[in-house]
């Protein structure tokens, strides 16, 4: 015991004496402090939970705990291998210290050091919550509970697990490299778990995460804000902790048992076999004369020196198992990223296009590259000193620059190996999926130019930092800290591309490549290259030759190394740097305006403060639009000119009104007849006109304009992706002057608003607020005639809504004239690209698909889907109102789809690339977009709460029902399940207040997620035909009518009219309240009775109503629920068929339901098709014991 304490005491004192421990303490304190105060490190954008609430504290601590692996590895490794390194081993091992006290003492020392680091983190978190600049309304009561919980459940166990596991590896292998490799492997496995678990695996993931972060996530998945603030997670935590602490303990015990106080490693490595055969030959070799090597030292000899050094450095990495772990991780993450490309709505996979992999090469590989750079820069740069070769090497006649160059190239080659692994893996995945259009040049440019260059920059930076550091561990920590600082620069407001030391991510589109980001990236490469050269020069000057030297000696050596060559190279590099830097500056700051994110936000805040009072003021609306749009794709220029007629549809006269113009447009002319321009703010795009005499109701006034939009050079960050060489796409409001005020521009993020001095965002007006029954968007309150003449370059098709009346050419330009054949909402869009056109028809509706020629695979499926949907929607609701339906593809830069009249604008990743084979060729997105022609097209909701139920909720419902008609309840059930999951998950991120469906404040998780579920549950209760009848009536009342516009209340009224008295309460529950169910099957008894089986199901049922903050109160339950018996075991897939299904009335509390069934059932499930929203699904089913 005494020797144990002695070893422990020494170890702790030793660790405390190392600068590394203090640096680690400081860094962890800062990391936690900055995270909890969200200064520079944002872990999760949930703005609602208290900063000092349980969830936030636990999240910060459990997330940052991972990073503790780095110092833990160092503590553990130095504790074990120090003796061998310092050749003290033999001294130590002859003392009468027993094996166990020795090992446990060392372990204890490392564990205590790790614990200190963990406590530093806790301290940083705690102190952070007291900072005065934090949002005070997010500070709740200060309690010790979260800290105690974090310490006992997260910090202590995790650090013990890490220490024990790594200690075991270090003890058995006595190798730093293997221990680091083990750490990588664990981090890797955890990352994979975190990113790629599906809904079915949550329980297993919760147990599999050794550090419990996922366990906590799973336990709190559906929690609401008050729960997150006050409660401590339970779930599988206890089981997980016990499992992993036990595992770690057993590893430790095993390592202690196998450890021998001896000098050789317990895990022997392969010995080189002695080459006996050559011995005889050797004696026969004639001894050549000592070679007269008047060393020539021509350039090729220098290259040979470089090559030999490079070979040695790369060989070191090849022999290191760490390399293979990282490469494996690269392959695994690539495979998992490959499999994650699914359509968000239908969860069907995309075709494995190369362009989809490119984001992974930037975001997915970056972490691995940084890990490699952090670890290998230290290993490679300090190799000579660490292995004792430094003096011999230093006395060799190589030019000083050879070392730093060889090291840098070696590190870059190692990173290249990772990139090549990722590429080969991706190609293999594509091949195995039967896809062979690899587009190798795209792989190569993305990996080795766009991303590779950035990774090389990081490598060079790592090497240079390491040459300055006195030893490997401090150097590694410095590189790690530097990378963190670089990643955080933008958070701190440093945004200019000349300063942030990175090559920013550029979105790639199959239609238009990198678009306007391309020239910027090339310019940046040309700029950072000479900078890297200068960095290398610095590294060269300061590279330590031989053993450690004082700073004075190093500086003296540096001065001696300044040769003519160095000066030439530096001056040349500096000159190129200045030249390219000036070119970039010219583009970003002179040709264009440079704005930081803060400045952008301030501009929006000013817009709201100065002009917010114009919101809702009456304005005349479009009655007729006649526009000419000339597009010059190669020049990225656009001209918009035209005239319109504005009509006062209000009940009183209008003295003055505002007109909004997208600020990016340059206005040459904007006139309103019989009015004077009273105020113009070009920068904000707002113009106010005063009528000479008030405009009476029903009277019109002309509007004329001439505007251009031009793009010159490239900008710092927000490229204009709307006007590009191939795939120009703009919404009408971007290039037309819109009467009325643009309130959509306001900032919605409350944290930003607070910082800028604005009140919290108001949200939509209340349901049925009479002031807004006549308002849609801007000042538009009526439909309008629409005619447009578009021109573009000769090889492109320009397209907008309406029928094509005429097409002609003039010189090198091509012209198109479109006109709508009935008045339509002035929400139009303009597109131009080298399209291929697919044509078909359905009854007398012309169907056209304008698509990129690379994306033709799904055209048949899309056309079939359109026809099936038109069948259903026309039959159930109303005839399709236009002569044609067009689907127009635009680049992925604008990732949303829009449904202007008679059209659906698809981004290239919607519909065109979804692999529909499992859904029998039916495209979810197409049904959704097409149904918008009814929901939102024929009738558009007034600008108030609940309007999104009328377009998105109903579109989702129609899609769900068409799928049900085509594929049956089980498939529909799976879709409903994913709706439920997205709804429930998103509730915790609600920043303001959750509302019932009827009052959704454009809250997408409610409109898209809960919306269809509500209608689905209702049609299950009262029948699909009744629901659809109500919707038909609704359309009949509001389609193509003028103000007042429909509200969600109107739909609910129609539903109440068709539903019987017994369903009124259900309608209130579904639409007007936030209701959650909780079903639980307690027991199932099966009694054979004759040739059938009596199945008794004992279940508990409860119903809760939640308020906007998530607080639940129990309310009485009385609802019909599906109960199903299955004969096959639960496969979780789409093809589960119940052998027997009944609908029974269920009330609050425990009850028994009896069912008779012919065959022996295997499992029972309540609400198997996800019709009712239930937060805990695991207890909804039970397997039946035989």
């Amino acid at each position: 015991m005494r020797s144990f304490l002695e070893v422990l005491r020494f170890e702790v004192r030793y660790q405390c004496g190392t600068p590394f421990l203090w640096a680690a303490l400081l860094i962890f304190f800062l990391l936690h402090f900055l995270s909890i105060t969200s200064v520079g490190i944002h872990l999760d954008e949930n703005q609602r939970i208290n900063i000092n609430g349980a969830a936030k504290i636990i999240q910060v601590i459990s997330t940052l705990n991972y990073l503790a692996m780095l110092p833990v590895v160092v503590f553990v490794v130095t504790a074990i291998t120090r003796d061998y390194d310092k050749s003290l081993a033999s001294l130590f091992f002859v003392t009468p210290v027993g094996k166990l006290p020795f090992l446990l003492g060392r372990f204890g020392g490392a564990f205590i050091a790790a614990l200190l680091v963990g406590l530093a983190g806790l301290l940083g978190t705690w102190i952070g919550t007291y900072m005065p600049w934090l949002q005070q309304d997010r500070i709740g009561d200060y309690t010790w509970a979260p800290y105690g919980f974090s310490l006992l459940v997260i910090v202590l166990p995790n650090l013990f697990i890490m220490c024990a596991l790594f200690f075991a590896v270090a003890t058995l292998t006595r190798s730093v490299a293997m221990t680091a490799a083990a750490a990588m492997a664990i981090m890797a496995a955890d990352l994979v778990l975190a990113l790629y678990t599906g809904l079915d695996d949550l329980g297993r993931t919760a147990m599999a995460d050794p550090f419990a972060a996922l366990t906590i996530r799973e336990a709190t998945r559906y929690w609401t804000v008050p729960e997150l603030n006050a409660q401590l997670p339970r779930g599988h935590l206890l089981a997980n902790r016990l499992l992993w602490v036990a595992t770690a303990l057993s590893c430790l015990v095993y390592a202690c048992a196998r450890f021998r106080l001896a000098l050789t490693a317990d895990v022997e490595r392969r010995r080189w076999p002695l080459r006996r055969k050559k011995a005889a030959h050797a004696l026969a070799v004639r001894m050549p004369q000592p070679v007269d090597v008047e060393s020539h030292f021509l350039f090729r000899d220098v290259v040979a020196q470089l090559a030999s050094q490079l070979k040695r450095d790369v060989a070191g990495a090849v022999k290191n198992s760490f390399t293979y772990v990282v490469l494996l991780l690269g392959a695994v993450t690539t495979v998992l990223d490959f499999r994650s490309h699914v359509d968000s709505l239908s969860s069907l996979p995309y075709y494995p296009l190369t362009t989809l992999m490119l984001a992974h090469f930037h975001f997915g590989l970056l972490t691995l590259v940084m890990v490699m750079a952090i670890y290998y820069s230290g290993t490679i740069v300090h190799r000579e000193r660490d292995s004792g070769v430094a003096e011999i090497v230093a006395a060799s006649p190589y030019a000083d620059w050879v070392m730093v160059t060889a090291k840098t190239v070696a590190l870059c080659l190692i990173v290249c190996a990772l990139l090549v692994t990722a590429m080969v893996t991706a190609i293999l995945c594509q091949l195995l999926s039967g896809y062979t259009n690899f587009e190798i040049p795209l792989y190569l440019t993305s990996l080795f130019v766009h991303n590779g260059f950035y990774y090389a920059m990081l490598c060079i930076l790592g090497v240079v930092i390491q040459t300055l550091a006195p030893n490997k561990w401090l150097g590694t920590l410095s590189v790690f800290a530097t990378f963190i600082v670089l990643m955080s620069l933008e958070e701190f407001g440093v945004e200019h591309i000349l300063v942030i030391f990175k090559i920013p991510y550029a979105i790639h589109s199959d239609m238009n490549g990198y678009g306007p980001a391309g020239p910027q990236i090339l310019a940046l490469i040309a700029y950072w290259s000479p900078f890297c050269v200068l960095l290398l020069v610095l590294g060269h000057l300061l590279y330590p030759r031989g053993l450690h030297k004082s700073l004075k000696d190093r500086l003296r050596e540096a001065r001696a190394r300044i040769t003519k060559g160095v000066v030439y190279v530096s001056v040349l590099a500096a000159a190129i740097l200045v030249a390219t830097g000036s070119w970039i500056f010219y583009n970003t700051n002179v040709l264009n305006r440079y704005q930081t994110t803060a400045q952008r936000q301030e501009k929006l805040a000013r817009y709201e403060q100065d002009y917010g009072h114009y919101e809702g003021t009456p304005a005349p609306s479009f009655e007729r639009i006649d526009v000419q749009v000339d597009l010059y794709p190669e020049d990225r220029r656009l001209e918009s000119r035209g005239s319109a007629l504005l009509r006062n549809n209000k009940e009183s006269a209008i003295d003055s009104f505002v007109v909004s113009v997208e600020p990016r447009m340059e206005v040459h002319r904007l006139d309103v007849g019989s009015a004077t321009l009273a105020m113009s703010d070009r920068e904000q795009g707002l113009y106010r006109f005063e009528m000479h005499s008030p405009l009476a109701p029903g009277k019109t006034v002309p509007l004329a304009w001439d505007m251009t939009r031009e793009n010159r050079g490239f900008v710092n960050k927000h490229h204009d992706y709307e006007i590009v060489a191939n795939g120009t796409y703009l919404e009408g409001a971007a290039i037309l002057p819109m009467p009325g005020f643009d309130a959509e521009r306001f900032l919605t993020n409350d944290a930003w608003r607070r910082r800028l001095g604005l009140d919290p965002a108001k949200g939509l007006p209340k349901l049925e607020d009479p002031a807004y029954l006549g308002v849609l968007k801007f000042g538009v309150d009526s439909r309008s005639e629409f005619r447009a003449v578009l021109s573009t370059s000769a090889d492109q098709i320009a397209i907008t809504q309406g029928e094509l009346r005429r097409e002609w050419r003039e010189g090198k330009r091509r012209y198109f004239e479109y006109a709508a054949d009935r008045p339509v909402w002035p929400a139009v869009s303009f597109a131009s690209a080298c399209y291929e056109v697919a044509r078909d028809h359905w009854n007398d509706v012309a169907l056209e698909i304008y698509h990129d020629k690379k994306h033709g695979k799904n055209i048949e499926a899309i056309l079939k889907t359109v026809k099936v949907s038109l069948d259903y929607l026309t039959r159930e609701f109303a005839p399709y109102p236009y002569p044609s339906f067009k689907i127009i593809e635009h680049p992925v830069y604008h990732a949303a789809a829009h449904p202007p009249f008679g059209t659906a604008d698809y981004p290239e990743v919607l519909g065109f690339i979804t692999d529909n084979s499992r859904a029998n060729g039916l495209d979810f997105a197409t049904i959704h977009e097409l149904s918008h022609q009814w929901w939102g097209g024929m009738a558009y909701g007034a600008r108030m709460r609940g309007r999104q139920m009328l377009n998105e909720g109903l579109a989702q419902y129609s899609t769900l029902m068409i799928f049900k008609e085509s594929f049956g309840s089980e498939f529909a059930g799976q879709v409903a399940r994913s709706f439920q999951d997205s709804y429930l998950k998103a509730r915790r991120a609600e920043t303001d207040e959750e509302r019932p469906l009827m009052e959704t404040d454009d809250q997408e998780y409610i409109s898209y997620g809960k919306g269809p579920l509500v209608f689905y549950a209702l049609q299950d209760a009262i029948g699909e035909d009744r629901v659809n009848r109500a919707l038909r009536n609704y359309l009949h009342k509001f389609a193509f009518k003028a103000a007042p516009f429909p509200t969600s209340r109107d739909v609910v009224n129609e539903l109440r009219a068709v539903a019987g008295e017994q369903h009124q309460e259900l309608i209130s529950d579904l639409f007007e309240r936030i209701i959650l169910y909780d079903f639980q099957i307690d027991r199932v008894d099966v009694q054979p009775s004759g040739d059938v089986y009596d199945v008794s199901i004992i279940l508990t049922a409860r119903k809760f109503e939640a308020d906007g903050q998530g607080k639940e109160t129990e309310v009485p339950l009385d609802v019909d629920v599906d109960i199903a018996l299955f004969s096959e075991s639960d496969t979780g897939g789409m093809s589960r068929l119940p052998v027997h299904q009944v609908k029974r009335r269920v009330a609050t509390g425990i009850q028994t339901i009896t069912v008779q069934v012919a065959g022996m059932p295997v499992s029972v499930e309540i609400d198997p098709f996800y019709k009712l929203i239930d937060r805990t699904r695991q207890n909804n089913s039970m397997k039946i014991d035989r």
Binding site: W272, R275, V291, D292, H296, S308, K311, A315, S387, P397
Partner: protein, 293 residues
């Protein structure tokens, strides 16, 4: 010919590592003797261009070493006191790498390395990783790499510490072969190495050259002034106070004392001086070795 003139170096903390060192070293074996901390390694590293002196000049033939380090490195072979090798790398691979760094390329490289491996009797273990070598093998490896490129100046720093007698003998023979027409500087605190091999020596202490010359001549100078006396353990103290005791040796139960004196002390007999005696006397003269043991 290697010449040093007024070479000095002071470490931070005012530790004077080298003070005004003047040396002229011709071709052949040169021995540098001195106790630990005398500055031998500092001097070796300075000549080997690894360290920059604060003052002084170093010339080898017509190379100004301080100004043109690379020129000296081209003809230099250096075996440091402590060295290692890249882990899990064979002796052959290491030698090939060092040869590359020394500017030997192409087929020559392989030939030279093979020759040296045979010459140092490492041919049979050339595929074994150097970190698995025994002490003697490692030193032979060290001399092999120092011989790469046919150097004209070879610096060997404490090479035989830790070798068994057979290995030491072998090593000395290697060095003797090598030292014919180049400058070989052997720095050590083992007098026997220097006595057998070196044609010139210098004795160093506290950063200064205390005495230099040819070993034979230095021994002859001491002729007639060295005496031995056998005394009991209790009398050793008394003898020390009366005379200059160079060293004491235990011989089968009794103590033999070696005394430096111009006249024969009582009970002593004349002895033939050895280099070790010269060495100790120089150290004592400069107050660097206690008169007591």
């Amino acid at each position: 010919m290697l010449s040093l003139s007024r070479v000095s170096k002071t470490y931070p903390g005012n530790v004077a590592a080298l003070q005004d060192v003047d040396l002229e070293i011709p071709n052949g074996m040169f021995g540098l003797l001195g106790p630990n901390g005398a500055g031998k390694s500092t001097l070796m590293r300075t000549i080997a261009t690894l360290q920059e002196p604060d003052e002084g000049a170093i010339h080898f033939d017509d190379i100004d070493v301080r100004k043109d380090k690379t020129a000296l490195r081209r003809i230099l072979g250096y075996l440091p006191q402590e060295f290692g090798a890249y882990p899990r790398t064979s002796a052959e691979a290491m030698l090939l790498h060092f040869a590359a760094l020394k500017g030997i390329h192409g087929t020559q490289r392989k030939q030279v390395v093979e020759h040296l491996l045979v010459h140092t009797n490492l041919w049979n273990v050339r595929g074994r990783s150097v970190d698995k070598f025994s002490g003697g093998m490692k030193q032979r490896f060290g001399i092999a790499q120092a011989l790469l490129g046919n150097p004209k100046l070879i610096i060997v720093d404490e090479p035989t510490a830790g070798l068994d007698p057979a290995e030491r003998r072998r090593f000395q023979n290697l060095l003797a072969e090598v030292g014919e027409d180049r400058v070989v500087i052997l720095s050590t605190h083992i007098v026997d190495d220097v006595a057998d091999l070196c044609s010139t020596i210098a004795i160093m202490g506290q950063g200064k050259i205390l005495k230099g010359g040819e070993p034979k001549k230095l021994i002859v100078e001491m002729n007639g002034r060295l005496w031995t006396k056998v005394v009991s353990k209790q009398d050793v103290e008394r003898v020390r106070t009366d005379h200059t005791v160079l060293s004491t040796r235990f011989r089968s139960g009794s103590t033999e004392v070696r005394i430096l004196a111009d006249e024969m002390p009582d009970g002593a007999t004349a002895a033939v001086p050895e280099l070790e005696d010269v060495y100790f006397s120089v150290l004592i003269e400069h107050g660097l070795k206690d008169n007591l043991e």
